[in-house]
Every structure is written in C-alpha cells, then in structure tokens.
C-alpha cells in the first residue's frame, strides 16, 4: 500500500489536486489538534474544576459580550468551545478510527475467508452479511448497546459506553469491507501468483495474508477512508438521537446534540461551531477518499 503512495505518480497527482491538498492540510490540522488537545486546549471538559459556570454562554470573542479568553465562546456550562471541540474531535476520531479498524479487521478477515474458500464458508459469511445489511446501522447500534446493557453490570456498561458504541458502529460497517475483500479475493485467487503459492503447498492463511491481502489493499484503503467519514457521521447521528454518548463524554455529535437546544435562543455558536467543525472534518476525509479512489483506479486516471 505504501509503495503505491511512495511512487512518484501518487505524489505528483497529489500536488496537482488543490482540493486534496487542502483536505489533507485540514485533516492534519484537525487530527493534530485532537491529538494534542490535552496540551493545547485551554480547559479540559472532563475536568470539572477547569471551567466555571460563571463563564457560561459567552459569545465568540468578536461579538459584544465576547471574552478574548474564549475565542469561539463558551457553552452553558462555561466550557471553552474550542477546548470542547478539540476534545470532542478526539473522541469522535477515536471512535471513528477504532470502529473503522474493527470493521476492517472483521470485514476483511471474513471477506478473505469467504472469497478464498468459497462453498459453505462463503455462504455463511454472505448470509450473515445479508442479515447485517437488512438492519440499518442505527438498529445495529441499538442491538449492541442493548445487549451490552443486558450483559454488563450498569457501572461497567457506563464505563464501556465508548467501546460499546464503537463496536456498534463497527458492526454496521464491516459488510462493506467483507464484500469488497471477497470480490477482490475472488479475482486475485485466480491470478497466477496465488495459484503459484497454492501450488507450492503454502498454508491458506499464509496465501491469504502474505500474498492476497497486500494486493487488495488499494480498494480497501478507499473504503477505509470513506467509512471513517461514515463512522464519524454515524456517531454524531446516534448521539443526536440520544442513543450515542452521554453529555459527559462530549464527542462532536454530542456537542451538536447539546447545541441543538440553543438553535433559537441566540447562542448559535454552541450549535454551529461544532457542526462546522464536524462537516469540515468529514468533507476533508471524503475528499481524501475520493483522491485515493482516483489514485487506485488506474482506468480513471
């Protein structure tokens, strides 16, 4: 996968695409900001002692009543919007990335098995995928959340809120990977380098992992990008519907849900600042995904 990018044409195309460059820059800034949140954010929205209710509802600094200390204003708890967003992006990205990775592992693993072995393995995996497809992501999320609630003690469930949500999102995304991986494997399997490896008597797992997998990473990378965007959006949507994260672990989606309450009240920044931020992040990731798609599709070049 990397040697694809390492190749000059990738870079060259990249420098010729202003959209991709801007998107990459935006992504780097946002991800960087999220990673460095504990060091660069003015306050920590998880630490109740770093902000004060007294500072609540301050508008952005350039508006009357604004406080230069809070560039983009504060929310109803007195939390600095920028800090909340940085921490929120951190959580959103964490959930998105983890969900995407789990979905990739699960989907690619099952897709490899199904495509490689065919027969009943394929049938079972694809039927499970059908069931998964029949249940929209929101319902899947409910399922996982519900089961976790039933199986885990309440305290543990609260602790595991983020992992559970991540798992729920991951489960609604894996089918994409499985289908793509399976289709690619079925093409690759008949290619001669795979035949050569099989003929030599290499272990199926080795054939899949060492030979096939590196060759199907291209399309998978595209899906990974697009699904990272979907995962972040899905988390936001679930949080909006109130089945995502609680308000004390504010992801971008939770921030938007909270902000929704201030839509009409005049404190517009509580809603629109995180929304704009979320959209910027997702648009950037999607643009990068588009770029990768073009890069990996030689026919589109």
């Amino acid at each position: 996968m990397l040697d694809y990018i390492r190749r000059r044409e990738g870079l060259w195309l990249f420098t010729r695409s202003p959209a991709a460059m801007i998107a990459a820059l935006a992504t780097v800034v946002i991800v960087g900001g999220a990673l460095l949140a504990p060091w660069i954010a003015a306050s920590n929205p998880y630490d109740l002692s770093t902000f004060s209710l007294i500072d609540g509802l301050k508008p952005p600094a350039w508006l009357p009543g604004g406080d230069p200390e809070f560039l983009l204003g504060t929310d109803d708890q007195g939390r600095d919007m920028i800090s909340s967003i940085l921490y929120g992006a951190r959580l959103s990205l964490l959930i998105g990335l983890m969900a995407m990775l789990i979905a990739t592992l699960l989907g690619v693993g099952l897709g490899l098995l199904a495509g490689y072995f065919g027969g009943w393995v394929d049938a079972v995996v694809m039927r499970v995928a059908d069931v998964q497809l029949a249940l929209p992501a929101i319902l899947t999320a409910l399922l996982i959340d519900g089961i976790a609630r039933g199986v885990l003690p309440t305290a543990l469930h609260q602790e595991l809120r983020v992992p559970v949500l991540t798992l729920a999102i991951a489960l609604s995304l894996w089918v994409n990977f499985a289908r793509t991986a399976r289709a690619s494997v079925m093409v690759e399997k008949n290619k001669e380098y795979v035949q050569a490896a099989m003929m030599q008597g290499q272990h199926p797992l080795r054939v899949m992992g060492v030979h096939i997998l590196p060759n199907i990473l291209g399309p998978l990378l595209v899906i990974m990008t697009v699904d990272l965007a979907s995962a972040i959006l899905l988390e936001a949507t679930l949080s909006f519907l109130g089945i995502g994260l609680p308000a004390d672990s504010p992801s971008l989606g939770t921030l938007i849900r909270i902000g929704m309450g201030f839509l009409l009240s005049g404190e517009w920044w509580i809603l629109w600042v995180p929304t704009a931020f979320l959209v910027a992040l997702v648009v950037s990731i999607n643009i990068l995904g588009d770029f990768l798609r073009d890069l990996f599709n030689p026919r589109l070049r």
């Binding site: 004060s52 209710l53 109130g242 308000a247 309450g261 009409l264 009240s265 404190e267």
Partner: protein
Amino acid sequence: MRIQRHFRPALCATMALGMAGTAAAETFRWASVTDPQTMDPHAVNAAPVTSFLNNVYEGLVRRDGDLAIEPSLATAWEPLEGEDGWRFTLREGVTYHDGAEFTAEDVRFSYERAASEESDVRSWFAPVTEFRVVDDYTVEFVTDGPNPLFPESIANFLIMDSGWAETNGAERPSRDAENFATRNANGTGPYVLASRDPGVETRLTPFDGWWGEDRGNVTEGIFTPIGNPSTGLAALLSGEIDFIEPIPIQDVARVENQDGFKVIQGLETRVIMFGFGHDHEALLYSDDVSGENPFTDPQVRLAVAHAIDVDTINRVVMRGTVEPAGQLVPEGISGYSEAHAGRPAYDPEQARALLAEAGYPEGFSFGLKCTNDRYINDEAVCRAAASMLAEVGLDAELTTVPVRNYWEQLRADDYDMYLLGWSPGTFDHEHPIRFLMHTQDDEAKLGSWNFGNFSNDRVDELLPMIQNELDPQARQEMIDEVVAIMQEETAYVPLYTEPLIWAAKENVDLTQRADNFFMLRWVTVE
C-alpha cells in the same frame, strides 16, 4: 381517524350539532412532548394521561387554577359520622357524552375498576376498606383511619360510564392487550374525544351537554405530540400550532421577543433534590474511600448542601426561572412549613470545615447518578453541581442515564448520591413524607421512593398521625417537626422548584396550573 369507525352515529350527530351551534369556530392546536399513551383513565397513572383525560372525564372533585379542591361530579363532601371515611353528594342531571345519565352506580363501577388488580391507580384506594352506594346520588368511602386528605387524593379519580364500559367490554383496565377504552372515551367532561390517532393527533370537540359553564371558546382542540423540542418550537413560531408546553428554558427570551408570541411561566410543584444512600455500607464509586459511606454522616450531607450554589445554577443553567427550595414541597403547597423556610446557604468554607470535622479534610470521590431526559436541564444541573462539589473536594463521578433505566438502577442501589424530582401527587406535604421520608416498608407501601432508605423513628411515628389528624393546626405542627428532622439530618438536599414554561401565541388566553395540567376549557382564543 380510525376511531370514528367505533363511534355511534348518534354521537357524530351531537358533534355536528355542536359545531354548527358555535358562532365563530376557534380551532386550537397544541403540542407537548409526550402523547398520552392511553385514553383509559385507570390504566396508566402518568401525568400526560391524567392531564389530558381531565378534559374528557371528570372526577368527583377537581382542582381549580390554584390547585384547590372544588366540586365537580360531587357537589359536596363530608366526613362520615361514627366511622372513618367520607360521604360524597353527587351532582344530578349530568350526562355522559353518549347521553347516558351519571349516577352513583357509575361511581361504584369506576371505584371497582380503579381499585382492581388491573388498575394502575389502585394505590389511591389503599386506605379504603368499604364503598357504599347510599342512594342514586350519594356514595360513601370507608377508610381504615381518619383520612382528612382523602378527597384531595382522588382528584384524578375519573368516573367512567358503567353501561358504556360494559357494552364495549371494557369493565377492567387492560394490561397487555388494548380494549375499547384504550382509544375511545365516554366521560362527562367538557370535551368529547372526536378522533384519536395515537402518537400523531388527537382531536377534542366541546360537549354540548356539559353541566359546567366555565369554558373558553375553543370549538376544536387538536393535540399533537412533538418529541423534538426544536421542531416543536419551530412549529409554534411558524404559526402551525397555537400553544406548546414545555419549551426549553434557553428559548424563553427568543419567544418573548418575537411579535405575536408569549411565554407563560410559573413554578411547578416539583422540587429537585439530591438524595443519598443512607443505608449503604460503603461507597460504590470511590477511588479513595472504601469500606465506609461518608454520607451516613449528617455533617457530610450538610457539607454537600453548603457546597452547591443554587443561585448560580438558577442564573446560568436555569436562566433565573427557578425558586430555591429548602423543603420537599414548594411554598404554597398545603403543609409547607413556614417555620422552616430557609435553606443552607452557599458556603464552601463551611462545607470544607464540615468535611474536615467529619474526618474528610481532603474530601473524597463518589458516584453521582442523574437522569438526562427527565427534568428540565437535569444533566446540566448535575454537571454544574458536580463542578461545585469538586470545589470543596467532593469529587463526583457523574453518570447520567435516561429515565427508562434510571429507576431500575436506583432500586438496585446503584449510586452513592442521586438526583430526584418530586411532585406531591396530592398537593400536600404528607405525600413526600409518605414516599420519601418514611422508612421503606413494602407491606404498607410506605417509603417506596425512599431509595436510600432514610430512616427516622420519629418520622415513622409522625406519618400516621399526620394522616389521621383532622385539626389543621396540630397537623401542621407535626409536619413542621418532620421538616425540622429533614433539615437537621439533611436527609435530602432540596435544590429548587422546577419552573413551568409554556409558550403560546399572543392571542391565546389560558390558565397555567402548577401541576402542569393543561385544561382546554380555560383556553380562550381572542
């Protein structure tokens, strides 16, 4: 829509007449968050249901705009002589929407229905030992002791027509499957249930044969549940609905500033408070305290009270809409103790001192459990409180839970400190004493919402006396004593009384009742 199929032709005719008879047709559309889940007055004891059905059904007594009891289907009531209980004299000449006549038999039927196994309101009749029909217009409830508040406690006991219920196979409230009364109604109230599409739209039209006079000019009332507050507000501001309750606190200013709209704001009867796990052996969610429960120490509980700045919460989170509270009922509710009107002041120094005295100079960490969809800004209040508690070293680990899981968790004792809102169903101080102050007693159904099992022998002793005392003065003294114990022990930390915030078009005139009941008959559209 569907309901019209079930209606009898005669009823449709009545409705048509009613429509024609009114000079200016005033259609009034209103919205709230929750749809009443049933039209059966005895099936579910939930505010959205009782509130809505009070427009269609009536009780023996009813509450006026100030929550005072006034005659309704009963014109008078008095204690029985020689035994404990009450006698009600029924109103004559009252008819149901379908034309049937209201008699004592209906009261008997409704009593038996409401007190049946299947009923969700049978606890109202727990003290009743016998019911007697004296004649067509007199009934008697015999109770197991003097029960001065009995008439108050049955203000939401709505009377159903026995003949109608029997004809339609709705003799008992339905538990699992629906019955005829789930989606149809036949009361004596001022409005007729014209159509019902659950979760979507419910229409009311005036009942021409209503006995009362005190009724506004609405000729058709259309109720729609709107779950999403932003959507609801948008619907009001775009003029699609005339009235909505509640609206979010932060939107009050916006609605007030908009031409043609107004906010009707008042105090509800619900007091928001923090409770403690009095009978817990140890803290569940502590990093630094194990094997003991600091909250068993009244000083610690008082420290909590001193650490929370209710005024700032009011100003920022509640935007000045609430009234700080020091007791389990707000001022104005019968039994409110004027003698103990104060509440612990915001005083972090004092709080720290108290903690030090109790042996926790550095404070400790614990778990605070709150709802996030039950009370107004509940989650924000808890977060604000947690950050204030952190100031004095009380490090609250906040967990917020939707109400659908909340009670279950509280009943499982899964908390160290919790948030609770309590609205006295009887609008009397006895109610919270019974449910929140008395030691848990499943047999006698006492202290059933006293999750932390606060237990004080004197309180347990006083409760039956309060219940049986007919002399207001003596009764108040006993209540004062309970309040004193509550405050001394800091059994709970009452924070404030929740506001009621309704919004309507400017041309709508209506009455806001502190129990958040919305009475269509008090609406006049100008």
